[in-house]
Each structure stands twice: as C-alpha cells, then as structure tokens.
C-alpha cells in the first residue's frame, strides 16, 4: 500500500468541523462531452440531410395520419385486452387439476408461440378460405369475409398471439404466490374461485404488470404489422400517402414520432399502475 502522507498522530488530530472536498471525476466530463459532441453531429446530419422537415410537420397532424393512429391505438388496446383475458384463462388452465384443461393450454401455447405472428395475422385474415361461413347454430350464420375485417383479423392475430406469451407469465405469477396464503384462505373458508380472484390473482398482477407494460409497448409497435393485411392503421395510411407524394422518409418519421409519443404515454401509465399494485410492498413493484 502506498501512502501519500505520513501517519496521523492521535495527539495532533484536528477538530471535527473539517470542510470536505469531493473526489474529481475527469473521465465523466470527458465521456460526457464526447457523447454530446456525437449527438450534436447527428442532429446536424439530420437537419442538413435530405429530409423536408416542413413536410414532417405538415403531415404530423394530418387527419388521415391521426385517424390511422387512432386505429393503431384501437388495435393495440383491443388486442392487449384479448391477450390478457386469454393469458389469464389459459394460465389458470395450465395449473388446473384437470389434465384435459392442462393439455388444451399447453397446445394453445405450443401453436401460437411457435409460429410467427405475421403468419398468424395472414391466416386469420384469410380464414374465409378454410371456413367460408361462420355458423354457430342459433347464434350466428354469416359469411366469414364480412366478419373477418382487417381490424378483426389484426386484433385476433395480435391478441391470440399475445395471450400465448401471457399464459406463461400468468402461470409463473400464480406459482410465485406463496402457498401458505392459499392455505390461509382455505382455512378461512374461501372457495377456490374466491381464493384465486381475491388472493392469488391480485398478487399475480404485481408481478406480471412489468411484463404487461412491455407487452403494451410491444403491441403498439406490432400493430404496424396490420398494415400488411390492408388495415388502414397509421403505417398503412402513411404508405398510401407516400406512394402518391413520394415523401417516404418524411412520412415514416411522422409515424416514428407518433409511435414514440404512444410508447411514452404507455410507460408513464405503467409506472403509476405498478405503483398502485406495489403499494403493499413499499410503493414499488
């Protein structure tokens, strides 16, 4: 060990009220400046590049784009809701005492997690080729093409796919809830349904919310896949415009800005939801 100063003698120690000077961090300053410089260069590159920012500004609030974005949001929330419902249903089935239910849940996850979501979207959209009519005795009897609109196909495709991921998450969440609390609920006289609803699932929520937040953000972005099945969500709307006016990059940037706005809002919502469900554990999930 190297020591810059001679040892301090116990007899000559100064009083307690000594000023303190902080450690220097030269590398932080150097690294920080470097990154700022690169950012500035990047901004300048984009400012001087072949992008007509005026067009970006103009289309940012164009009715067609806004309408597309509303569809994007609708797909996102409908698919997410469907995914959550399916995730909880199949997640609970996965842990059922009934082997048939367990198998059904396994099969669901196996199929929908094992194939690309884009492929699933296309199959839903073209499902009329397999089932020309949707016929449930006494309930509905219609032509499939009238039911399976691009919107419905998008929601089903994304939602069912999401559900297969959430099934695994819910299963893990349920398993992570302490068995002892379930036994305590049993001895209080709560039925399995009451125990699941009031004791297990609320605590599962705290654990799966972070995942759900990521799912929501992911879903907002994956909803752009619906552009491929002629759903006029935002990306599709933007494409239709730039096929005509040629402002490709500008319109893609418009989309990027809206997606960023959406994901930002979702992240903020996620923060507050996690805070709510984490309140029994010191305010944070």
């Amino acid at each position: 060990m190297t020591r810059a100063n001679p040892p301090l003698s116990a007899d000559t120690l100064p009083g307690p009220d000594l000023p303190v000077r902080g450690r220097r961090h030269p590398w932080r300053w150097i690294a920080g400046s470097l990154v700022l410089l690169l950012l500035a260069l990047l901004v300048r590159a984009f400012a001087e590049g072949n992008i007509r920012w005026a067009i970006v500004g103009e289309f940012l609030t164009a009715p067609v784009i806004i309408k597309g974005f509303v569809w994007t949001l609708l797909i996102t929330f409908a698919a997410l809701a469907l995914g959550v419902v399916l995730g909880f249903a199949f997640g609970m089935m996965r842990l059922s005492a009934n082997p048939v239910l367990r198998f059904a849940s396994w099969l669901y996850v196996w199929i929908f997690r094992g194939t690309p979501v884009l492929l699933q979207l296309l199959i839903w959209f073209n499902i009329a080729l397999i089932f020309p009519t949707l016929y449930i005795p006494g309930v509905v009897d219609v032509k499939m093409v009238t039911v399976m609109t691009p919107f419905v196909a998008a929601v089903l495709g994304l939602g069912v796919n999401e559900g297969s991921y959430l099934t695994e998450v819910v299963r893990g969440g349920i398993l992570s809830v302490d068995r002892g609390q379930v036994e305590a609920a049993n001895t209080l006289g709560m039925t399995p349904g009451q125990t699941m609803r009031r004791i297990v699932l609320p605590q599962t929520m705290r654990l799966i919310l972070p995942v759900l937040g990521n799912s929501a953000v992911g879903m907002l972005k994956f909803s752009s896949l619906a552009a491929t099945i002629a759903m006029t969500e935002m990306l599709n709307a933007a494409q239709r415009i730039y096929f005509i006016n040629g402002a490709v990059i500008e319109l893609l940037f418009v989309c990027a800005l809206w997606y960023l706005a959406g994901t930002t809002v979702l992240s903020i919502g996620q923060y507050y939801l996690e805070k709510h469900f984490g309140r029994s554990h010191g305010g944070r999930a």
């Binding site: 002892g180 305590a184 001895t187 209080l188 006289g189 009451q194 004791i199 029994s280 010191g282």
Partner: protein
C-alpha cells in the same frame, strides 16, 4: 382451569402417509369444549400433519375427524364417507381457525384487510360490520393502531397477532396453532403467548403444537406427546411433563427441558 366434558373434536384412527413414509399411524384424539390441548413432540413426529389433517388441509387416507356433529370433508351415508362439495368443506374449515408458523398473512391486504377478508367474503358481512368486529379483535391483540399497515411493515410478533385476529374473525369453534412462535425472535415470543393465554382464559377451545414447554405447563389443560406418528403420552400438563411413563417421551422431554432458556415465566 376446568374444561367442560362435552367433546367438540374427535379424531378417529387418523392415518396419513407421504409416499412410503407413514407419518400418522392411527391417531385417536379427543378434545373437550373449552379445553386447551398442547401437542409436543420431536421434529418430524407428525404434529403439523396431525393439525393439517384435523382441518383437512391434508387428506388422511384412513380415519376421520369429527367436529361438533359433523365429519370434516365427508357426509356419512349408509356407512360410506361421501366427499363433500368444496363449498361445504370450506364452511367446515372456517370453523377451525388456523394459525400458521409462518403467519401466511395476505401480503396485498392491510392488517384490517386481512381480518375482514374472511367475514366479508365467506360470511357475507358488510364492510362496516366486518370492520367494526375486526377493530375489536385488533384491539384485543393490541394492534388497533396498526389497522392501516401492510404486513411487510410489521414485526414477526405483530404479524402473528394479526393472524390470530384473522382466524378469530370467523368465530371458529376451535383454534388450531401450528408452532405459532417458532419463527419469532425470542423477545417477540412473549407477546404472542400472552394473546394466546388470554384466549385460553376466555374459554376458547385450542389445539396448540408448540415447543414452549413453559407455556404448555401453565396454560394447557392437557398435553399429548407425539413420537413417530403416534401419541405416546397424554394427560395433565404437570403430570406428563414431570413424570412421563413412556421411555421415549422421557428422553424427548429430558432433551427439551435440559435447554436452559426455555420460557420459564
């Protein structure tokens, strides 16, 4: 303390195995109304399993438990035990208040929320009615000021007292305790035993698995000693503790009583 003679619980030939391991080898046990019974015995002797079979958290493969006119988990018809629907089983279980070694409080409910959960969900009490009664119980266990706290904010002793209040809220006929103080720091044991002592004084029927010999001696009307899945000794606390007949019980008690700091109050 004198217990009324009327039996309220009777276990008849309880047998339980985990795989090849025979954990309960035909347990017969009777508890009278208002009686306080302590179950002692070495680790692994089957005490928890017995308690869990009594309230049907574990299903015995032989024998049954009778509580105040009913057989737990079954309907006896024509010499056959028909399994009850879950709802009726739960109704029976709610009459056997259980306090666990590790508290098992609902982590997402406040202290008050834990205590009103059963009365509201199972007995259908309104929130105000359940709350009023819950506050009385929290007062009784000395935690009225913690009603709004979360379980994670409580000490072990406080958690266990909440757990006792939660079980009492169902107004059970019998209270079962599975080593209620074993998970506690030594200085927190007293407050929980104190609450249990008061319960015993009010005539609550209690079956307590414990290692607190001092408590058993002071509070129990009767103790049973379990060894290897069998009840080897039963009788008044002082008699069994002072002068056990069975040699294995004597050696077990010798070991326990030899430990100096054992709750001598």
């Amino acid at each position: 303390m004198t217990a009324a003679q009327q039996p309220i619980i009777r276990a008849v030939g309880l047998r339980k195995a985990f795989g090849n391991l025979e954990v309960l080898k035909g347990i017969d046990l009777e508890v009278a109304q208002g009686e306080v019974l302590c179950i002692l015995g070495p680790s692994g002797s089957g005490k928890s399993t017995l308690l869990r079979c009594i309230n049907h958290l574990e299903v015995p493969y032989g024998g049954y438990v009778w509580v105040d006119g009913q057989i737990i988990g079954y309907d006896l018809q024509g010499g056959v035990l028909h399994e009850l629907p879950v709802k009726r089983l739960r109704a029976q279980q709610s009459q056997l208040g259980m306090v666990f070694q590790h508290f098992n409080l609902f982590a997402h409910r406040t202290v008050l929320g834990n205590v009103i959960e059963g009365p509201m969900v199972v007995r259908g009490l309104s929130r105000p009615a359940a709350t009023a009664r819950a506050m009385d119980l929290l007062e009784m266990v000395g935690l009225a000021d913690k009603a709004g706290s979360w379980p994670a904010q409580l000490s072990g002793g406080q958690k266990q007292r909440v757990a006792i209040a939660r079980a009492l809220a169902m107004e059970p006929q019998v209270m079962l305790f599975d080593e209620p103080t074993s998970a506690l720091d030594p200085e927190l044991v007293g407050e929980v035993l104190e609450v249990m002592r008061r319960l015993a004084d009010t005539g609550t029927t209690m079956i307590i698995v414990t290692h607190e010999i001092g408590f058993a001696r002071d509070v129990a009307d009767r103790v049973v000693v379990m060894i290897d899945g069998e009840i080897r000794e039963t009788g008044p606390a002082r008699k069994v503790l002072a002068n056990p007949a069975d040699p294995r019980v004597r050696s077990f008690l010798g070991r326990v009583l030899a430990q100096p700091a054992e709750a001598k109050d």
